[in-house]
Point group: none
Chain length 235, copies 2
Amino acid sequence: MNPKYSVLLIEDEESIRSFISTTLKSQGYKITTAACGQEGLHLCASLCPDIILLDLGLPDIDGMTIIAKLREWSSTPIIVISARSHEQEKAKALDLGADDYITKPFGTVELLARIRTSLRHGNQFAVGNTPYAPIYRHKELMIDYDKHLVTLAGEMIHLTQIEYKLITLLAQNSGKVLTYSYIMEKIWGPYIDNNNQILRVNMANIRRKIEKNPATPEHVFTEIGIGYRMAECEQ
Amino acid sequence: MNPKYSVLLIEDEESIRSFISTTLKSQGYKITTAACGQEGLHLCASLCPDIILLDLGLPDIDGMTIIAKLREWSSTPIIVISARSHEQEKAKALDLGADDYITKPFGTVELLARIRTSLRHGNQFAVGNTPYAPIYRHKELMIDYDKHLVTLAGEMIHLTQIEYKLITLLAQNSGKVLTYSYIMEKIWGPYIDNNNQILRVNMANIRRKIEKNPATPEHVFTEIGIGYRMAECEQ
DNA sequence: TTAAATCTTTACGTTTTCTTTACGTCAAAT
DNA sequence: ATTTGACGTAAAGAAAACGTAAAGATTTAA
């Protein structure tokens, strides 16, 4: 890795801190740790890390507050670390501007994969309208934004307006979880009630068209309680 | 008979205006004239001519301004007419988007040649760096832009002026969806309201002429809620 | 000037899409 | 084992978008 990415880990539990530190160091990341929220905010401002790993259950400051405070001035990718017992927190964290989440206990492979994805798609350097790749491709599925065309194994797939908007939104953020509320607002505007039924129906219709077996999807994944995630674009 | 090419002449000198008018009429062009820049801009937006002849020395608006204003929405070929050959002026006009430049006094033969050339090369609907294709072909359908001719299985198809422009616009962007509003602006100018009814009627008429069964089209497809897309040119 | 062709508008039936409702399934928690 | 909550799917009604015929309006050609 060249140059090294710097990672800021905000985590109060000593055992997890050292586990992650060791893991990341061995992979060539430059890692700094903070044991409480106060320290974390301070270090973030002075270090300007490339990515932040944030445990939501800190002793001094509420995790949501930390995300909000960071997002006031920084767009550094944030990966939230959360205990399974606090499921509903995750969606809120993502809505506040976190980029991804990972649930304890987690494996090394998963953690590293999430970090790589977030760094790759990290919007910390994007100014204004992020330039998306002109084409999304994953396995047999291809989306040509310019031609407004979706093909599966070369075959044209007919999508309705809303279906196309939806898959485009997911594809242009592929690899990343988009929360239900985020998707709803993007597609149906800010005045829609937050009943996701209409979204589920549309997702089912899309899956019927692009998945061999909608029950075991290859392209669009459900993150239960959180939202949807699309397989990362190949290239 | 093929649809006539329509020409808009923007020229303040009466003698030149009538000279060019007579010349072009005798050659089968449909010509409209404007005596000042204001009128010229207005007529262009309402007529959407196939080509524009523009005198740079108009009394009211600077010629360069007119070119720039037209290029905000139209890609119709513009041939600039100038009293004196100033290399700088010529370069600037071409830079702003004019297609050719002719110096007074000029002969009939030269003018007609320039017009033919601009119309031929004026694949005015092709966007970006699309290579100039002299012919569109797909299944039995053929469009010869140079000859201004549409044939279906060798048989000549009679199209009206608007119908020809429409199918040309779609053909020169074949494979891509063109939105209703884009098409409306290209064919009916920037001042048309965004009621697509007139477009639907014209598409129905075109389909009646070129599709075996308009309900299951082979050449022009509707992308509901978005626009129309023409089958990609073969070869 | 008159007839024909073209363009635009109006009206209406059909198709497609959108939304809601109802119900079934699965997994986690009691 | 049962309950509960979240998600997926089917189907039906409502709404929007589309295509077509036909009647004016305008332009062009004879």
